[in-house]
């Protein structure tokens, strides 16, 4: 369970997040939808602990990211905005490195790594160096290292960005599986089809504020539009930055 309470964050003059509050329940997929520059990445960065909020707080299973970062991060699996790999490490070494830093070791880590390699279909490139991986392969490595410690909460920033159809479908099925396992899943997107295809709940964010929240049905009702797409546009107030 992830909770944001009145999060604010400015970079100099720019107010990236201007008081965002919402809850992400367990066993559900929650989509954070908004145009580019709406403040999605900044809000997520505060949730996964690489940025500090100017005001408000983010809680993961009741643990405050500001006061108790390490404990909170232990309960998070993160596919961050930046998903760079180490060119001279193999896919498997990436997963092992993150696993060790999560406190895993020995047989347990080796077994968990094998499991993820199989689950994500990484057998062909697991022992190749990351230099020259395709975007799809890179995202799989990034997902595997994010999930190595079996986290109860998963945060993903634009997980299907730049992926082809097959890879996108694999990511979607993984997210469904995480939901079936009862985890709390929060992901951001500026692609409406994706949000409507995946989400149980949607939080629409624009200009650093939450402008609508609820199930897709709730949103249709709130905005009085029949199509979800029209509902989003109505909630955001413009079509700019969406796709």
């Amino acid at each position: 369970m992830i909770v944001l309470e009145g999060i604010e964050k400015s970079f100099g003059e720019v107010r990236a997040v201007a008081g965002v509050s919402f809850q992400v329940p367990d066993g559900r997929i929650t989509g954070l939808l908004g145009p580019n520059g709406a403040g999605k990445t900044t809000a997520l960065r505060i949730v996964y602990g690489v940025l500090r909020a100017d005001a408000g707080r983010a809680l993961v299973d009741g643990l405050d990211l500001g006061a108790n970062r390490l404990e909170a991060q232990r309960r998070l699996g993160v596919l961050p905005h930046a998903q760079g790999l180490y060119a001279r490490l193999t896919a498997r070494e990436h997963v092992l490195y993150f696993g060790e830093l999560q406190g895993l070791s020995g047989d347990r880590l080796a077994r968990r790594t094998d499991e993820l390699v199989r689950r994500l279909g990484m057998e062909d490139f697991a022992d190749r160096r990351a230099d020259g991986f395709s975007q799809g392969q890179r995202v799989k490595v990034a997902l595997a290292r994010a999930l190595v410690h079996d986290p109860p909460n998963v945060v993903l920033d634009e997980p299907t960005n730049g992926l082809d159809v097959a890879a996108t479908r694999q990511v979607r099925s993984l997210l469904h599986e995480l939901r079936e396992q009862g985890r709390c899943v929060l992901f951001s997107s500026h692609v409406m089809q994706e949000v409507s295809a995946l989400c149980d709940r949607v939080v629409v964010i624009a200009r650093g504020r939450v402008v609508a929240e609820g199930t897709p049905d709730d949103l249709r009702r709130q905005t009085g539009r029949e199509h979800l797409e029209d509902a989003f546009v109505a909630a955001i107030g413009s079509e700019e930055g969406l796709s």
Partner: protein, 392 residues
């Protein structure tokens, strides 16, 4: 998970990855050869020229030698007398001659009448190379004047010792080995350079490079204190620094093997025991250099700017030592507490065969370690505040 364990995970990964980087490995392998190779070349050249002087002796051009045959005969006992060029002053100015003795036509007449006989010594005091020839000419002329004066006194029944209150003895302690000292001043410089250069690639790669390749943000999402990352990265940088340091010293140890005393006429003092002690002096420097490079590279905006800044940073600590070495100044003991400078002074003393006591080495090492601790603390704080990912 303990700090030690987490740091060692980061450390092992960075070292593992670093050794897969050809650029880091090649730098660490080949840079150390630079200093020793240069030293071999310089020593060969110096020993060659000093041997030429020793064998052929100094030559003194003399103008008007027909005016003073006795004097010229005396000069030729201590040097090779050669005919002077047409324009002595121009020849010395151009550096064609190191010194020219000009004997005017009235020399013989004034000498016979007991008045001071004029003689001109044309020299250029600003030319260091001409100094041996100048000294030789002055010494020989002085000796002749002294001998002639003594004979005159004896003819008049006075013992020459009467006018000689001083028995001045000129003792030249310069040896080929001591002339070598200014060449050996490059040794501490290359040691410091090696320490920085060895770790530079990995220091940049694991900080500015990690941010530029976008792998730092994922790392920052992990439940590890940022200090753990700093310590792992500094320690990995140290490994490359130590490898380069030890390799540099091993290669310096080969210099006397490449230039045996039998070939160059004197021995180069770079013995194994001295080099082993230099490793001890070098280790604190490796720690400080690695911490400095990680801190600076973490604050650089890009990979490229980190490279530029670190290249300059590398020169700064190396320069004061080489300047002191070239000036052959003896610095105050307080300077031993200045990191890098202190160690360079101590290495230089060992090279000159001067005593280095344990306390001096401890002061230098302790001050360096203390500063390294401070730099690491600043780097940890910098990482805690989001560097190098963000600047909060």
């Amino acid at each position: 998970m303990s700090w030690v364990r987490a740091s060692s995970v980061v450390f092992l990964k960075e070292v593992h990855e670093g050794f897969r980087d050809r650029r880091s490995v090649l730098t660490a392998l080949f840079f150390p050869a630079l200093g020793p190779a240069l030293l071999v070349v310089l020593i060969s050249i110096v020993s060659q020229t000093s041997r030429e002087v020793d064998e052929k002796g100094v030559s003194i051009p003399v103008a008007g030698s027909q005016n003073a045959p006795n004097l010229v005969a005396f000069l030729s006992q201590g040097a090779r007398v050669v005919p002077a060029p047409d324009d002595p002053e121009e020849a010395v100015r151009r550096g064609d001659a190191d010194v020219v003795v000009v004997i005017p036509p009235d020399f013989g007449e004034r000498l016979r009448s007991g008045r001071p006989a004029p003689i001109r010594l044309v020299v250029d005091e600003s030319r260091d190379q001409a100094r041996p020839a100048m000294r030789a000419a002055e010494r020989l002329l002085g000796a002749w004047a002294h001998q002639t004066g003594a004979q005159r006194l004896m003819l008049r029944g006075v013992h020459p010792a009467v006018v000689e209150p001083l028995a001045l003895e000129h003792v030249d302690i310069s040896t080929p080995a001591s002339r070598l000292a200014s060449l050996l001043a490059t040794v501490p410089f290359f040691i410091v350079m090696a320490i920085f250069t060895g770790g530079m690639a990995i220091a940049i790669d694991t900080t500015a490079g990690e941010r530029e390749r976008q792998s730092l943000e994922p790392l920052f999402t992990l439940p590890v204190p940022r200090g753990v990352l700093v310590i792992g990265k500094v320690a990995a940088t140290c490994v490359f620094g130590v490898v380069t340091l030890v390799e540099t010293l091993l290669l310096f140890g080969l210099v006397p093997v490449a230039l045996p005393a039998s070939r160059i006429g004197f021995s180069v003092k770079l013995d194994p025991w001295m080099l082993a002690r230099t490793v001890g002096l070098g280790l604190p420097m490796v720690l400080l250099a690695s911490a400095l490079m990680v801190l600076v590279a973490a604050r650089a905006r890009t990979f490229r700017s980190a490279q530029t800044t670190l290249s300059i940073l590398t020169l700064l600590p190396a320069l004061p030592g080489i300047v002191l070495g070239l000036l052959r100044a003896r610095p105050a003991d307080a300077l031993l507490a200045v990191p890098f400078l202190g160690q360079q002074v101590l290495v230089m003393r060992m090279l000159r065969d001067e005593p280095v006591d344990f306390i001096q080495a401890t002061v230098a090492g302790g001050a360096t370690m203390a500063l390294a601790g401070l730099v690491i603390a600043i780097a940890v704080r910098s990482f805690e505040r989001g560097r190098p990912l963000f600047d909060e």
